[in-house]
Symmetry: D2
Subunit: 355 residues, 4 copies
Amino acid sequence: MIRAGIIGATGYAGAELVRLLLGHREVEIKWYGSRSYIDQKYAKVYGNMFQLVEDSCLDDRIEELAKQVDVIFTATPQGFLAGVLTEEILERTKVVDLSADYRLKDVAIYEKWYKIEHKSPQFLEEAVYGLCEINREQVKQARLVANPGCYTTCSILTAYPLVKEGLIEPNTLIVDAKSGTSGAGRGTKLPNLFCEVNESIKAYGVASHRHTPEIEEQLGYAAGESVTISFTPHLVPMNRGILATEYASLKKIKQPDGTVAYPSDAQVRAAYEKYYGSEYFIRLLEQGTCPETKWVEGSNFVDIGFQIDERTRRIVMMGAIDNLVKGAAGQAVQNMNLLFGFPETEGLKLVPMFP
Amino acid sequence: MIRAGIIGATGYAGAELVRLLLGHREVEIKWYGSRSYIDQKYAKVYGNMFQLVEDSCLDDRIEELAKQVDVIFTATPQGFLAGVLTEEILERTKVVDLSADYRLKDVAIYEKWYKIEHKSPQFLEEAVYGLCEINREQVKQARLVANPGCYTTCSILTAYPLVKEGLIEPNTLIVDAKSGTSGAGRGTKLPNLFCEVNESIKAYGVASHRHTPEIEEQLGYAAGESVTISFTPHLVPMNRGILATEYASLKKIKQPDGTVAYPSDAQVRAAYEKYYGSEYFIRLLEQGTCPETKWVEGSNFVDIGFQIDERTRRIVMMGAIDNLVKGAAGQAVQNMNLLFGFPETEGLKLVPMFP
Amino acid sequence: MIRAGIIGATGYAGAELVRLLLGHREVEIKWYGSRSYIDQKYAKVYGNMFQLVEDSCLDDRIEELAKQVDVIFTATPQGFLAGVLTEEILERTKVVDLSADYRLKDVAIYEKWYKIEHKSPQFLEEAVYGLCEINREQVKQARLVANPGCYTTCSILTAYPLVKEGLIEPNTLIVDAKSGTSGAGRGTKLPNLFCEVNESIKAYGVASHRHTPEIEEQLGYAAGESVTISFTPHLVPMNRGILATEYASLKKIKQPDGTVAYPSDAQVRAAYEKYYGSEYFIRLLEQGTCPETKWVEGSNFVDIGFQIDERTRRIVMMGAIDNLVKGAAGQAVQNMNLLFGFPETEGLKLVPMFP
Amino acid sequence: MIRAGIIGATGYAGAELVRLLLGHREVEIKWYGSRSYIDQKYAKVYGNMFQLVEDSCLDDRIEELAKQVDVIFTATPQGFLAGVLTEEILERTKVVDLSADYRLKDVAIYEKWYKIEHKSPQFLEEAVYGLCEINREQVKQARLVANPGCYTTCSILTAYPLVKEGLIEPNTLIVDAKSGTSGAGRGTKLPNLFCEVNESIKAYGVASHRHTPEIEEQLGYAAGESVTISFTPHLVPMNRGILATEYASLKKIKQPDGTVAYPSDAQVRAAYEKYYGSEYFIRLLEQGTCPETKWVEGSNFVDIGFQIDERTRRIVMMGAIDNLVKGAAGQAVQNMNLLFGFPETEGLKLVPMFP
């Protein structure tokens, strides 16, 4: 039984962490950190937790917290962890950061897209990008895990095998992503109001969303060269879920008979199987089936489907996740499981809820 | 490890049973019965179950099924189980019936409200009404459990202690209930279409809904006399959840000082505590807190709040459940746990999902 | 062509006024008042108004405004108009107040329920309660119209004929009302966020909502005696619409043959017809039909249905309106039409939008 | 005053036609055709029309209908009109067809994508594609108007000026479209149920949706060459609205100084202004503003925004319409106005409803 602390426990991602950790057999939550609700009962902030969590909220003094727990989750605004992280903390405890502070290796790119100074670039090198299905072995050895963003998790995993295997032209990749509203957080802002979101859909952050360089960096590693993509997020009137619809031009590959031709359905499927065939949390749907976000709601699954368009020589890849689970808290728990040698699925064998 | 069979596994309640039983440590599902989808893979009918359920749907031959399993759940239309149940089946296996066939002790009332003939009234006497918090001991001894309706579970539990303790006039009880749309089932009917339900609310079945006599019968037992109430269901544009807002006139009671007066907040609270104080699944909210269906979503909890109105000498009681869990599949699993001596909460310690 | 000014033009009710007045042939909006958005283009605050409204927002100096327009609409927080209204203003212009400042004749009741001091009780006597179908003639003569609240409009109109004709016991009246979320306003408060409202229903303000005394006062006039009722509002995950489900015990009345008996369906219907038979905006639904809020969306209609419950000797009355139209801006325009002698339906013959 | 008949008046598009025509000063509906509801009161099929439409539904005998009205709208399944249209009908009356029967000039393409035989290809040549902003003059002279599809209207208008002016590479065009659920019609099919659609998003018809060739044909005329695009529709949990997010590579153009370079924001904007600057129903949003479907709800507007992505040399174009208005019934009325010489905006100056 390990002890965990959460800084930022009263945001939606933090609350989802609480939900998941309450069902985890090897962890006990010792610290519900929330600057906004200090000394208030956690269950008053989240009515669903009534009689399940008796604790009150604590502050965000991470140094003190590091003395008390084995793992710290930071579900905090960008810049928070970078501003307070020290070597002492990392010597005492593992840190899984749900913010973007250590996701990008290049501090210049971070500062350009996030428009804040990075206060502790010295840890960038060490931080492991916690996309478990791809960086599993590195995560196991890490002290500091940069938990991927919600859009990025979905966007990367959906395209990764095809980029890695060279079946698509990486720079033709266009990611049109749609997210439920919990992705916008619990901030009391006008665009988050029910009447503003309900019965509407819109794009936002076009050509400027911060998850873009994160997708590019990771797919760049897969491609073995730098990659530039188009990424457009959309806000959808639903609580949870991300659907990424991804378009790319197919690349001719050498065929068994020595000729060169566009990859077939079977070859695309084989590429997915190669990387995900034994992954519990990635479900490659049957041919002709398009993922629906409802099918993964509340779970840590990534559902992936694809369709080759013979007319345009493009492939349409589709990936669906629950943004709060695989896109945030679930992946954070999966990373924690790797860090501590627990079964990777512990606490995460959640059956998707339908309807 | 016991074996379970489900007849009606492809309705929403049946599917929720599957979700819950997959997370139960003592049960294995051996039979996914569905007349409409025989031989089709269950996971094609419910995409969320992809790679979690590999079975195909079977028919509804309950006699054959009874030979293979320890417990049968029937999530079937009214009249189905009454038409096929036999003594032989009950000698072989336990049956938890999610339909209304054995909920009402008086066959005449059943036939009047359901407008079908009851084919096996001989089992009515034996059947136990499976409202676990009230009939726990009888359920433990039962062969046949009549799992309560969704509206009834919520309506009864919300008022029960006050009726039982004589704090309200039972015949003044008015239950104004609001349900998510999964309560209407998965039938392809015009009123269930997205565009017909979304952005609208309506009452239906006014003064004629079939759950009325069920509520009256059970509250009648609590009151020790026959009870007649008003019950009005409403359809709400959400997937899950029932909220029952219940109104009743308070009844003067003898006070500690010998006078007679209307019960106080504390006395009402004490009545709830008396019956529910040690119930895991019933959460009596703090004074001034109104339940929200979102706080119980996906869980087996019943959240109850109340407010005394000094001006009208009425009390407003409010109860919230997830109609598919405590209102159907969760309660069925709870009954199964009682039937087989498992811990009552096994498979049901689901943390409500928010948002 | 008259000129209108709106103070509070950027709330949802104010914005709905703009929508309706843009389609009105006899009015021109000259002043979009909004303390929060002074000097900002109105169409930046409401994107739907792009290219339809070119004006920028102005302040709320009502004295200046009164010099420029023929009618002022105040869609402002409680207390605003009471704090600034003067005889000079009323001599210059008509005022339709969408707040509660002049709805209650008894200043003590106002101050008790609204918990603020009333700054200009001298206008209470003069103010006309603008429920057009009931006070039509008084409105025509008024200078100051107190536009009814959304819950109250629906609650009163649904029960009025039966109270007036003595068919129900007024003090048994219980109003269980359900409102879309626009009724909560455009304030950036946590409970108004999409993820907090969506997929949930709750009661609020139980036994304490401010619309209660307004309903009681008006129904008291109809009953000819003081009336005390139960009123419970609920928040529903939809943008627009109020459904009031109202319960009351029937009262025996003298029958044509000289006996005394409970009123029949026909007698109830006749009572509704007597008061509403020639009202364009009130639609008495056919026997057995329950109103749905979607059927009135975007329109000024009130849909009313009822069901007598022979078992309990109660009647269930149901009324549905669009809270922003008949519950606010539509009724305000209807009042304006009466004030200026325009056809009462001018600008209001909106066909409900479905779906 | 002209007389109109509707065949298919009880689908969502037909019902929207009724809503719009009831507010049109020059038209009277004489025939509510609906094979499914013959002899039933129209207002029983659409409760919102209670007391607004007193007619009952009639059959679909178009020859008889043609004798009685000046214009026929067919909001019918594919193949219906092609199967019954005759020269005699067209000599008597104008026809606006909301189905796809006469949208594609090439009968082979029609039969390939729709998988039915075209029964009257002889009218294909004559039929005018009723995208008013582009084919206004031809519509005025037509007898038979092929009213564009909902996705196509939005997709074409969003990209048209840039294709026409050669600012983008037509064959790089990718249209990722999102539609409200009314676009799926009122058929009682499982995927249309509330609980299946709500809280979920999915793509469907990937690389095979029937609106694809329609978009390609029209953009091909603009480009002056054949165009092949990617088109992916998505189902969104809302009643109305289509958002098309469109991606294309910019094409270098000759600049005023004689050099060749990628078009600037101003040049793109100028292209839109050139074609839409005086169009009432097309609103080119300000730089940096992304359209939201809610801003056009209930109206005939098309809102268009764009963003150039310097990093990828692509442009992201976004268009939003109400699928039932500009995407169906509104455009049909606009076409009718052109056919009969009414002001083009008559009956269509609907202010979008928000929220």
